[in-house]
Amino acid sequence: MTPSLEARSLVKRFGALTVTDSLSIGFERGARHAVIGPNGAGKTTLFNLLAGALRPDAGQVLLEGEDVTAAGPDARARTGLSRSFQRNNPFPDMTVAENLETALAIAGGVGRVFWRGFGHYRSLAEKAREIAGSVGLNMVGDTIVRQLSYGMQRQLEIGLALAAAPKVLLLDEPTAGMSPEETEAMRHLIAGLPRSITVVLIEHDMDVVFGIADRITVLDQGRVLLTGAPEKVRDSAIVRERYMGSGG
C-alpha cells in the first residue's frame, strides 16, 4: 500500500549544517504516527519540508503517491495536507468563528468571490460552529482570538488545520506550553480525530506520544534512528538511554 505521505532521501542544509540528512520516512493511511527526538534533531525542519514551507536540497516528498516536491504549501494544502504550527498562528484580530469560517472559505474555494458579502455563505458559519464544538471552543465563538487564553488558541490551531478537511494532518507540538489539564484535553481531542485522517505528530510530552501514537519514529541529527510500534520504541535500549531517562 502506498503511504499517505512519504519522504524519500530528503536533504536540507543551512549553510554548512546538514539538518536533514538523506531522510526517508513513510506515514501509512490512518496512522497515528509520532516523530520524537531531542531538540535539534530536525523535527520541525522535517515538518516544514513535508508541508512545503521549506524546499529540500535533494530528495522527494510524495502525497498520496504523487510527487509534490515542487509544490508550495498552498498547493499541498489543496491536495489534502494540513498543518498546525508550533507557535500559535491564527488570524489574531478575528473572532474564533471568523477564523474558522475563513479557513473553510479557503478550503472551499470561495475566496475568489468578490461580488457578494461573506454573509451569503451561511453553510460556512454552521460548519465553523461544528468545528468549534469539536475542538472545545463552542463557548467562545465570538471572542477575538487575541483575547483567548494560550491553551484555547492552541485548540484553535487544531480547529484551523481540521477546517481544511485534510487527508493528512501534521501537528507540530500541539501541547507545547500547556498546563496538565489542557494537555489532557488536547490528548483527548487528538485521540478522537476520525480514523480516515492520517495524523503525524511532533511531541515532547511522552505521555501524549504513548497515549496516542500507534507508530513512533525517533529522529537524531537529521536521520531516522528507529521506527516501530510504541512498545518496541519504549523497549529500545538506545532510546531509553538517551531520551527516556527523565521524561517518562
Binding site: 508541508a51 498562528n89 475563513t102 472559505a105 475566496g111 468578490f114 461573506f118 484551523l160
Partner: protein, 313 residues
C-alpha cells in the same frame, strides 16, 4: 456596524449640504476631496486590508490621468470611453508590475513600489508622445446631457465626482466584505497560516493590487478632467506620499477613514497654504505625529470614543 452607518450618513449629508450651499470655490474644493477620497480608498484596500503599504500608488493615478488624456487627444475617444481606457490602462500596468512586486513584503514592498513609481514618472517625463515635462491638454469631460448634467459646469462636475466617490465606496466596501476581502484580511493577519490553509497568497495580492489600481486610475481620470490638463506632477512621489498620509490620518482598513482623511487633509492644506508657503513642512509634521501617537487615525479615534461611551453606560 452602527458607527459605520452613522459616519456614512454624516459624510453624505455633509457632502450634499456643502454642495448645495457652497460657491464656485467650495465646489472646486469638494471635487478635489471626492477625487482624493477615491484615490485614498483604493490605497486603503491595499495598505489597510491587505497590509501592502505602497509608496508608489501615484503610478496608477498618473496612468489613469494620462490614459484619459491620451484616449481623448490621441485616439479621439469620447469622455466615458476615455475613462474606461484610463481605468483599463491602470489595471494593465498593475497586472504587469504586480507579478513582480507582490512577492515582496513589508519594507521591501515599500522600497520597490517607491522605485516603480519613480520609474513611471521618469518614463513619462521623457516621453515625447505624452508631452514630456510639458504635459498634455485637450481633455474632454464626458457628455451626460441625457441625464441633464453639463459636466463643464463646475457644480455638475462636483456632483459627478461625489457620486463616483460614493459608488466607489459601495464597490470597495462590497469587495472588503466579500470572501475575497476576508482572505485579504486573513493574509494581512497571518500570511503563513493563509498559505498553509491552501490560499495562493500571491494571486490574491495581485488581485487586490489590480482592483486598487483600477480605482486609483479612476481618480486619476477625474483629476485630469478637473484640470483639463495632465503633467508628470501627477506621478511624483509626493502624490503617493500624500495619499498614504490621507489613509493613515483617516484610519487604515475602514474605507470611511480615508474619506474623512481626504476631507481633513485637503482642508488643512488649503488653510495652511493661506498662512504659509511651507505647508508641506506642517503636513509632514502632522503625519509624523499621527504615526507616532495615533496610528489608528481619526476613524480609529471615533471607534475608541464610541467604545468608551458604551462602556460608561
Amino acid at each position: 456596524m452602527t458607527l459605520r452607518l452613522v459616519t456614512l450618513a454624516v459624510l453624505i449629508v455633509a457632502a450634499g449640504a456643502s454642495w448645495a450651499f457652497s460657491g464656485f470655490f467650495g465646489k472646486d474644493l469638494l471635487t478635489e476631496i471626492a477625487i482624493l477620497a477615491i484615490f485614498a480608498m483604493s490605497l486603503d484596500l491595499l495598505a489597510g486590508y491587505t497590509g501592502m503599504v505602497s509608496l508608489g500608488h501615484a503610478a496608477f493615478f498618473g496612468v489613469g490621468a494620462y490614459g484619459m488624456a491620451a484616449a481623448g487627444s490621441l485616439l479621439g475617444l469620447g469622455g466615458l470611453p476615455a475613462m474606461a481606457v484610463a481605468v483599463a490602462a491602470a489595471m494593465a500596468l498593475a497586472l504587469i508590475v504586480g507579478v513582480f512586486v507582490v512577492r515582496l513584503k513589508g519594507v521591501f514592498f515599500i522600497m520597490i513600489t517607491l522605485a516603480v513609481g519613480q520609474m513611471v514618472h521618469a518614463w513619462v517625463f521623457r516621453s515625447e508622445a505624452l508631452g514630456g515635462d510639458d504635459g498634455m491638454g485637450g481633455i474632454i469631460r464626458p457628455d451626460l446631457g441625457t441625464i441633464g448634467l453639463v459636466l463643464d459646469d463646475p457644480a455638475d462636475f462636483a456632483l459627478f465626482a461625489l457620486v463616483l466617490a460614493f459608488l466607489s465606496f459601495l464597490a470597495l466596501d462590497l469587495v472588503a466584505r466579500s470572501p475575497f476581502g476576508r482572505l485579504l484580511t486573513a493574509i494581512h493577519q497571518s500570511e503563513s497560516r493563509a498559505r498553509a490553509l491552501g490560499c495562493p497568497v500571491e494571486r490574491y495580492k495581485l488581485g487586490a493590487y489590480v482592483i486598487a489600481a483600477a480605482f486609483a486610475g479612476l481618480a486619476g481620470a477625474l483629476a485630469a478632467q478637473r484640470d483639463y490638463f495632465v503633467s508628470p506632477e501627477f506621478l511624483t512621489w509626493t502624490v503617493s506620499g500624500e495619499v498614504l498620509i490621507v489613509v493613515i490620518v483617516g484610519g487604515m482598513g475602514s474605507l470611511l477613514g480615508p474619506v474623512i482623511g481626504a476631507a481633513v487633509v485637503t482642508l488643512l492644506k488649503h488653510q495652511l497654504s493661506d498662512v504659509t508657503t511651507y505647508w508641506m513642512f506642517f503636513l509632514g509634521l502632522f503625519f509624523v505625529l499621527v504615526v507616532m501617537f495615533a496610528d489608528r487615525g481619526l476613524y480609529g479615534a471615533l471607534r475608541r470614543l464610541k467604545r468608551r461611551r458604551e462602556a460608561a453606560t
